[in-house]
Symmetry: C2
Subunit: 220 residues, 2 copies
Amino acid sequence: MRAIFDQELSQIGEDLLHMATLVATAIRDASQALATADLQLAEQVIEADLALDELERALDERCVILLARQQPVATDLRVVVSGLRISASIERMGDLARHVAQVARLRYPEKVLPESIRPLFDEFAVAAEKVAVDLVELLQSHDLNKAAQVEKDDDILDELHRQSFTSTLGPDWDGNVSQTVDVTLLGRFYERFGDHAVSVANRITYLVTGDLGDGEPNNL
Amino acid sequence: MRAIFDQELSQIGEDLLHMATLVATAIRDASQALATADLQLAEQVIEADLALDELERALDERCVILLARQQPVATDLRVVVSGLRISASIERMGDLARHVAQVARLRYPEKVLPESIRPLFDEFAVAAEKVAVDLVELLQSHDLNKAAQVEKDDDILDELHRQSFTSTLGPDWDGNVSQTVDVTLLGRFYERFGDHAVSVANRITYLVTGDLGDGEPNNL
């Protein structure tokens, strides 16, 4: 029984890693589709999100079956329940990458962003890809330095989000209303993308150390 | 054992109901604070969200302890795991009500919205309170007509969200950039509020019928 259980736990870890890898690709491609008005790439991201949703469903099913059949307790139980929560966060990151791609598709063949704010969104793109890649490495290694790095990446996304408000509300803003709306939504999507990564990082930290960072449920 | 388990399951149901009731109050008050630039009411909503977060933590802890001690299977297991998921959605609805209140607080003593779009946000307020109240009644009764009603309420919120874009992007829009940003964010907050209510309704429907509406994991 224990060997099967360990194998199934390890499979959950691999599935989460697979999902996070797909999300890292999705946010990179979505940012590029946004920057270059690449319709085909935008549609590719939107399409790929379906696979991610399906992976979440399959993983959740496996977690519940595992709870029912193996009746884990203590750490094992924490791992399985955390698996359920982490998959939900990663799936949501995929949705947010898709939302970015959908804005790019909606405005095609126009580029979404006025020129003045493109450098800021280049920074969003770099920071969001970094948070996703650091999350992949955290899921691979369970190295808590990576969890700390995810937090730092998220701080950058939060700062860029603040700067996006400063830009649109500042005297030099030359975007039209549609661009103001898009910048507001896109900034929010990137910011939430980082929040979910931190939520995953906190859960993994807790699994490793028993200490779940501030503002998170302290039981999983 | 079974009597204790039933009691604990019933406690989970009561806690979820309590959380949903707080959320219905929060969204009503947040909308009113927004409409009337009521700083005190906005701060009350923001403060009250802390209690909701704490309720989620306590409920999650109870669910995990229940999984560990009682090792439920089949329907009982589904109920406990669904409890974990439903509490996360309701907690998130509380966050979104808080976000609405935070926008009201940020712009105080100004009213956030230009006059032309206030009627639309009056409709948002009514629809969002209705989705929350219908969710409370669904949690109380497990009456699937209420689940269908939550879906309909959410359709209205989606339609209002579309109208908010039509307004800001239309020729008659007289808001400044700051108001455009606020309307964009507020519309999104109300729309997501409805999405989470539907997610809860789908999970309850599945617990009652075994059929979880489209687009949702089919295992819980």
